[in-house]
């Protein structure tokens, strides 16, 4: 028995080492850093390094930029996640209803953004959204609509970022929903038809509730993904205009790697992680009723 246990430990060791090096140690390091004023001056002379307790966190609470970044991030999460789930669901169901031989093509087309590099996508969208030469405004012009300055005005910029994020993200959910949909036995639909349920009733009373556990999981993944919004605003708008698209992660990046204030940046990182954990905990403990089998 004892031997078996040590053998088992040996097998998990590589994973543990990797986790320790890339997750646990940095996490503890960041926690430690967030309690100091570690910055570019401390690099020059360690006498400039002070433990300042929770001061970084108190500053954060009174920091207007941080609140704005929180708002920006929340907007993307609150608008983006439902939109992503909706598109994942609708596209999965629609693809199922088109002729078999076209299915693969559509599925691939919608999934490609997921596997593309975010930076490449952001750069393409920068061209697409260009006020004067962009394809988007060209199409709007054909429809007789104005030529908005997508990335230049605060409200439109955050909208544009959300659109790009959702566009890149929903293909993943589509594949997951498709797989979950195939797991629903055909007999349930047969039974429902005999019982008198029409297309819409079958959708609302069988498909959607049966997919609910899957959609819940996707919601969790999407929330945690969008909460860490970074590359899209970094490439598309660099956080502007007027800081309107600076997400929390982007703010952290700027504090840390632009202004060399690692203590303050670490505090943001810790706060981001804490909120994510809180969310996961709430999500785990509030889902009631049917959880799938």
């Amino acid at each position: 028995m004892k031997r078996k246990r040590s053998t088992g430990a040996l097998f998990v060791l590589p994973a543990l080492v990797l986790l320790a090096v890339f997750v646990f140690i940095p996490l503890i390091g960041v926690l430690g850093l967030s309690l100091t004023d570690f910055g570019v001056y401390s690099l020059a002379d360690s006498a400039n390094l002070h433990v300042i307790g929770a001061a970084n966190y108190w500053h954060l609470l009174r920091d207007r930029e941080a609140w704005q970044a929180l708002e920006t991030t929340l907007v993307v999460v609150v608008v983006g996640v439902p939109a992503t789930l909706f598109l994942s669901l609708v596209s999965a169901l629609m693809i199922e209803s088109i002729a078999e031989r076209w299915r693969g093509m559509f599925r691939t087309a919608l999934f490609v953004p997921v596997v593309c590099s975010t930076v490449a996508i952001a750069i393409s969208w920068r061209y697409l959204l260009n006020t004067r030469f962009g394809l988007v405004n060209h199409l709007l012009a054909l429809l007789g609509l104005g030529a908005p300055d997508w990335l230049g005005s605060p409200h439109l910029a955050i909208l544009a970022i959300t659109i790009v994020v959702v566009w890149k993200g929903f293909g993943y959910g589509m594949i997951i929903v498709s797989a979950a949909r195939k797991e629903i036995p055909d007999e349930l639909y047969d039974a429902a038809r005999i019982e008198g349920a029409g297309v819409h009733q079958r959708l609302l009373r069988i498909t959607v509730p049966m997919l609910a556990p899957t959609l819940g999981l996707l919601a969790l993944l999407d929330v945690s993904g969008y909460w860490q919004l970074f590359a899209e605003p970094y490439v598309l708008t660099q956080g502007g205009p007027l800081g309107s698209t600076t997400s929390l992660l982007l703010l952290m990046y700027e504090r840390g790697f632009r202004w060399w204030r690692w203590g303050a940046a670490s505090a943001i990182a810790v706060a981001l992680t804490a909120v994510m954990w809180l969310f996961a905990w709430v999500q785990r403990h509030t889902r009631a009723g049917w959880r799938g089998e």
Partner: protein, 347 residues
């Protein structure tokens, strides 16, 4: 309630495979018709055609006075219990039962009354708040049955509703089902691959094989006068023995008919003692003995092959022993060797 008529129905799949060929049968108003046949013979397909889940390639299906060929399932006024119950896993028993009335917009009070009534009839009142995964196999099957009963349909279609249960529970539910059928007075089509279930349940049974109707008759008639070699071998357990005339000791005494014949003898029709004067006689060596409680199953090799006999011998028998068995001429079935059709022997 209404009668169900199936006339010359054919179902050919898109690939050209014929699943049902010229099937005609009918269930009278209030009758429990059993459809029995081996796995893959098209039983489920037949029910799906009646339910409207699939469309017939040829033929007519009538429920009551209406031809329902073109009607969608919800307008046919039928209910179906599926092979593996098909309960909605995300709904409680109550919601499962209520589903049909709910989607049809029945008022809440009437729906509630109906659900509770049916649940009480089936003895699942205490389960109403549970989800299907929290039920035993029998309770699931009762729920599926209840869901079918709730709307009071004209015709019930039951697709092997008991096949997923163990033997004692199956027997119990079968009796309940028979009682339920009497009290509801409903027209039911009950599909099974288990011939003993068919024998014990139906008022009339349809034997289906290879997508064709082999025989339609009462269980007693099907058992006593099987229409062809297939039915003879399929109905009854242990299955009938098939022999040629020269398997018997005295070929000359075997009644002959026109053309070459094959003879069928049920294992329980053998006897270890001569009965009347014109009994046929068969000698063989005992290869295997198996106790069935008060009876013994013997496997013998005779001159041309093997037979199974179910006897109540007076003395102990040994493997390897030669034994002589008798069959009354009246217990002999005869089938045409090429067509397999039943041939009546002159008494």
């Amino acid at each position: 309630m209404a009668a169900l008529e199936i006339e010359h129905v054919e179902k050919i799949l898109r690939g050209g495979q014929a699943v049902l060929r010229d099937v005609s049968c009918s269930a009278r108003d209030g009758e429990l018709l059993v459809v029995v046949g081996p796995s893959g013979c098209g039983k489920s397909t037949l029910l799906r055609l009646v339910a409207g889940l699939e469309s017939v390639t040829r033929g007519v299906i009538r429920i009551g006075e209406r031809t329902v060929n073109e009607l969608p399932p919800q307008q046919r006024d039928v209910a179906m219990v599926f092979q593996n119950h098909a309960l909605y896993p995300h709904m409680t028993v109550y919601e499962n039962l209520a589903f049909g009335l709910r989607v049809r917009g029945t008022p809440r009070a009437r729906l509630d009354q109906r659900v509770r009534l049916v649940a009480a009839q089936l003895g699942i009142e205490a389960m109403l708040k549970r989800f299907p995964r929290e039920l035993s196999g029998g309770q699931r099957q009762r729920t599926a049955l209840g869901r079918a009963m709730l709307r009071n349909p004209s015709v019930f279609l039951l697709d092997e509703p008991l096949s997923s249960l163990d033997a004692p529970l199956r027997a119990e539910l079968r009796r309940e089902l028979a009682a339920l059928h009497r009290s509801l007075g409903a027209t039911m089509v009950y599909v099974t691959h288990d011939q003993s279930e068919a024998l014990s349940l139906g008022q009339r049974m349809v034997v289906l094989a290879g997508g064709r109707v082999q025989q339609i008759d009462t269980p007693a008639h099907v058992f006593q006068r099987p229409a062809n070699r297939f039915v003879a071998g399929f109905v009854g357990w242990p299955p009938m023995n098939f022999l040629t005339a020269d398997s018997f000791d005295d070929v000359a005494r075997v009644p002959a008919g026109q053309g070459a014949l094959e003879y069928g003898v049920r294992p329980e029709c053998f006897s270890a003692r001569p009965g009347g004067g014109d009994d046929l006689q068969l000698t063989g060596r005992i290869e295997r003995i198996e106790s069935q409680g008060s009876e013994w199953d013997l496997e013998l090799t005779h001159r041309l092959g093997r037979v199974l006999a179910r006897l109540r011998p007076e003395r102990t028998l040994e493997v390897g022993e030669q034994i002589r068995l008798w069959v009354a001429r009246g217990h002999l079935h005869a089938f045409d060797l090429t067509s397999g059709a039943r041939v009546e022997l002159k008494p």
